[in-house]
């Protein structure tokens, strides 16, 4: 499709949907609040709105359609369609309904908390955060509240690692902390010597992912936790990469005080073009008083169980409206229920097997490598450094060319400590055939890069559009973050 911008499809007088009539008395608005100019929204019939968005949807490559192993660190896995039905069942529920009228959904929250507590080893879990990053922020808020309540107001530093998600650093900064970032050592793992140098009386917490986004499990993780504890800091586990270790090892058993999961990664809720997602914060008993409000508790009542909302006294307050992203909590609950303990372990083991199998295939492609040659759990960050040096083709360009074959990858977050990076995470959802096909596509593109680098650099060729000139997007004079800005800056001269 060569689908225009929606404003170009508008014709005055058309309507996509009709609205009920006022019925009640007319209300005259004072001039100070009355809208003067009608908003220039598109005017289209219903079919035409639908057709436009259906065409746009076909110009998008959802997980369900492609082999999405290139979205490493994001744990792209099958989100069962039946769980969408459960999510939709929450549509009519209003978050201010009286507890008595939402016992079903509260029970799901309570059961889900118990299951995640078992999976993490933590004593309580909040399902309120809207995403992994929001969960990280919530954990930092709890860390701050904990220290403030325990005479640690002076602790103003948070330590994190370079291969942890940027939100660990950014959320800590937003919460007012100085951020210390540990760089990888010669093995590619966070440098324990750097940690020893960094900890001290100002240390509020260590925020660390393991395995980090490289997919390497840090076997000295307990030393990290113990070191931070030794100076009175808290240890907080970013479990975004938990998919390979479900049922194998648990946050609390390593000594962590807090952890978080991304329900949209490990627990299969859909990624929705970038949210709504859902995060879960697990805490050890000492942190319970600080949990976001409210919590869902179970009480016995006349021999019956009943689920109620409680407001912890020292709560950090609200992280997001109401109890959380309920449709996704429901989906994740259903997903765990469909697998059970044995199933979750199969998830972990199969994700790890898939990753090691794919790594084996990728490393057979001339020019591809994986830094530090370590063992990998559920994903791996690779490098095209050698190929790039030979051909001048950059990793991003190879990924774009791969899109011509219906797959793609991303290069991960800046900065590129691993040169010419790409990160592959083949979760348990994929069949061997998918991995073979994915590796074959990358091998093909790498070969193209050797034979005709300019061709690869010119990609894409069979996508909706061709190579974009991104320069205007960083120029305030040219950038156009809305259609009205575009019309003003780029079209008004023509009109």
């Amino acid at each position: 499709w060569d689908e225009p911008i929606i404003f170009e499809l508008s014709r005055p007088g058309r309507r996509g949907i009709a609205v009920p009539q006022a019925e009640g008395p007319g209300v005259e608005l004072p001039a100070s609040v009355r809208r003067e100019h009608a908003p220039k929204l598109p005017e289209m019939s219903q079919l035409h709105v639908l057709r436009h968005y259906l065409r746009l949807s076909q110009e998008n490559l959802g997980f369900d359609l492609n082999i999405d192993v290139g979205q490493g660190t994001c744990t792209m896995k099958y989100s069962p369609k039946v769980n969408d039905l459960f999510a939709k069942a929450t549509n009519p529920l209003h978050p201010h309904q009286h507890e008595d009228t939402v016992q079903g959904v509260l029970e799901i929250y309570w059961r889900m908390e118990r299951m995640l507590a078992e999976i993490s080893g933590m004593s309580r879990v909040s399902l309120q955060p809207g995403s992994g990053s929001a969960a990280i922020y919530a954990n930092i808020a709890m860390i701050r509240a904990y220290h403030n309540a325990n005479g640690g107001e002076h602790r103003d530093q948070v330590i994190t690692t370079m291969f942890s998600h940027p939100s660990n650093a950014a959320c800590a900064k937003t919460a007012g902390y100085e951020v210390i970032t540990l760089m990888p050592d010669a093995e590619g793992l966070p440098d324990i010597e750097a940690l020893k140098a960094a900890i001290g009386p100002r240390t509020a917490a260590l925020m660390i992912t393991n395995p980090e986004d490289t997919g390497v499990f840090n076997s000295r993780i307990k030393e990290f936790v113990d070191l931070v504890h030794s100076v009175g800091g808290l240890a907080c586990y970013d479990q975004a990469n938990a998919n390979g270790i479900l049922g194998i090892t648990r946050a609390r058993d390593v000594g962590f005080d807090l952890c978080h999961f991304n329900l949209h990664k490990t627990f299969s809720t859909p990624h929705s073009c970038g949210g709504p997602a859902a995060g879960a914060c697990g805490v050890a008993p000492a942190l319970e008083p600080f949990l976001p409000e409210p919590t869902v508790d179970r009480v016995e009542f006349d021999g019956n169980e009943r689920f109620v909302l409680k407001y912890p006294e020292k709560s950090v307050g609200k992280i997001r409206p109401f109890l959380g992203v309920t449709p996704n909590v429901v989906r994740a609950y259903a997903w765990i229920m469909s697998l059970g303990a044995e199933g979750l372990r199969q998830v972990a083991e199969t994700a790890v097997l898939n990753n090691n199998y794919l790594m084996h295939k990728i490393l057979q492609i001339p020019g591809a490598s994986v830094p530090w040659n370590s063992r990998h759990v559920e994903q791996a960050r690779y490098s095209w450094q050698q190929l790039s040096e030979e051909t001048g083709v950059h990793s991003e360009e190879i990924g774009t060319r791969a899109a011509d074959f219906g797959v793609h990858y991303w290069t991960s977050h800046h900065p590129y400590l691993v040169p010419e990076p790409f990160t592959l995470e083949p979760t348990e959802s994929y069949a061997k055939e998918d991995l073979d096909e994915y590796a074959a596509i990358l091998a093909h593109v790498a070969d193209e890069a050797r034979r005709d680098p300019e061709f690869v650099k010119g990609a894409p060729y069979n996508q909706t559009i061709h190579k974009i000139d991104m320069t205007s997007l960083d120029d305030p004079k040219q950038w156009a973050p809305t259609w009205r800005a575009y019309v003003r800056k780029h079209l008004s001269g023509q009109g």
Binding site: L56, S272, A403, D469
Partner: protein
């Protein structure tokens, strides 16, 4: 049996793959995990419901424990009508299961989100709108932070007419380094006397506010803020903007709010997404933490591409050196709100606003015959507060009649919400029930 979600558990393929890698068992891949960190027992979880049908039955059993009623609940989550096309589009696998592809294979997502921000821009009369953040709470918190960063002044004057839960979020998010000063609520339900000086970075106003009252002094507050070198930040409900003036029209510098009313179901709080908007003023644009999508040329003349505007602002690019943080927020709800606005068009938004204004007034009149309606002379949009002997007793009594009558703001105040989904018959039923419960 091979689990339907995990194809490679089938023993044959497993063996084949292990052989290819040269491993004897999956255990080898876990060699880095020390024995003392291992969980040497199965997780203690409920027995699985592997058959989809058994799972459905289990879930239906849980959902059967929820109860429906004629609902006048609002206070941050609103049951506006959701057009079927909105759900159709956001249920599409292509959108529902996509994530973060590049602007080529994910052209559709980029365009749909660009169109969403563009339509919001028209509604708000502002040139810069973010790809949605989590919710209206977060949007307000970030908008205030943006104003404080922009002005270099960590101090904000906030309207006192804010929902308690939202305030809980704002305190957590702001108070460690931003001073929060509150304006009183006037007798008419609007913001009361406001005094600021040049230490303030922003005035923060909500309209309609927590009492459903439409604030009429926006222009005055904008002038006051600007006279003191501060910004005016206004949280406005976009569903009202077919009839109400957008914040930009009276001089607000940053608009923010929640787009849940634009096509998202309440979903027990699952339908939220936040917007933040400004004019195209580079230093203020620089303070956005969220992603901004812009239109860009491709190597084929006339073709539109899309990409990130000013990506360097973000934590994705510069970790703690970026503005706050950006993560997975609520993009799908942005796409959905775009569908909603395209369906409604200018006329639909106007008519909807008129219908809500009218039915709100009808409800105030109907309930006003039995109870005291607060701020009765103010302009109300969708919500209003009534004074009753006991909030709990009234709501319990109504619930026994199958009516969710409103949200208790305190022991004697109930907030009633009326949208286009309430017919005058529904409202009459509420009024009659209120009379009955109070009269008993």
């Amino acid at each position: 049996m091979t689990h339907p979600y995990i194809p490679n558990t089938e023993p044959g393929v497993r063996a084949e793959m292990l052989a290819a890698v040269g491993a004897r068992s999956v255990e080898e891949f876990y060699a880095d995990i020390p024995a003392e960190l291992r969980l040497n027992r199965p997780l203690d979880l409920p027995a699985p419901l592997v058959a989809e049908q058994d799972l459905v039955r289990h879930m239906e059993g849980l959902f059967a424990k929820n109860v429906a009623g004629l609902s006048f609940l609002g206070h941050g989550s609103y049951a506006h009508y959701v057009p079927a096309v909105c759900d159709e589009v956001n249920s599409r696998s292509e959108f529902l299961t996509a994530y973060a592809g590049e602007p080529y294979e994910d052209h559709g997502r980029f365009q749909a989100l660009f169109e969403y921000v563009s339509m919001m821009g028209e509604l708000l009369e502002m040139d810069v709108v973010n790809v949605p953040t989590y919710d209206g709470y977060q949007a307000s918190g970030t908008a205030i932070r943006m104003a404080c960063r922009y002005t270099g002044r960590p101090k904000v004057l906030l309207s006192g007419a804010i929902a308690a839960e939202k305030l809980s979020k704002l305190r957590d998010f702001l108070s460690h380094d931003i001073e929060m000063v509150f304006a009183p609520v006037a007798a008419n339900g609007e913001i009361g006397e406001v005094e600021i000086d040049d230490t303030f970075g922003a005035i923060y106003l909500e309209t309609p506010n927590v009492y459903g009252v439409v604030e009429t002094r926006g222009k005055e507050l904008a002038d006051l803020a600007h006279a003191n070198g501060a910004l005016l930040v206004v949280s406005a409900d976009p569903i009202s903007l077919g009839v109400l003036a957008p914040p930009a029209a009276y001089g607000a510098d940053i608009a923010c709010g929640d787009i849940q009313p634009l096509g998202m179901h309440p979903g027990y709080g699952g339908g939220h997404a936040g917007y933040i908007a400004t004019q195209d003023h580079e230093p203020l644009v620089a303070e956005f933490p969220s992603r901004l999508f812009g239109i860009a040329p491709t190597k084929v003349p006339g073709e539109y591409g899309f990409g990130d505007v000013y990506y360097d602002r973000t934590s994705f690019a510069h970790r703690e050196e970026g503005k706050e943080w950006v993560g997975t927020a609520a993009a799908l709800w942005g796409i959905t709100a775009g569908v909603y606005l395209a369906l409604m068009g200018p006329e639909g938004m106007k008519e909807l606003g008129e219908t809500v204004l009218s039915r709100t007034r009808y409800a105030m009149d109907a309930l006003g015959r039995h109870v005291t309606v607060r701020h009765r002379d103010a302009v109300h949009f969708r919500e209003f507060a009534i004074e009753v002997p006991s909030s709990g007793a009234l709501l319990d009594g109504l619930r026994d009649k199958g009516i969710f009558g409103g949200v208790a703001l305190d022991d004697r105040t109930v907030l009633v919400c009326v949208t286009e989904c309430h017919s005058t018959d529904d409202i009459d039923r509420l009024a009659a029930a209120v009379k009955e419960v109070l009269g008993a």
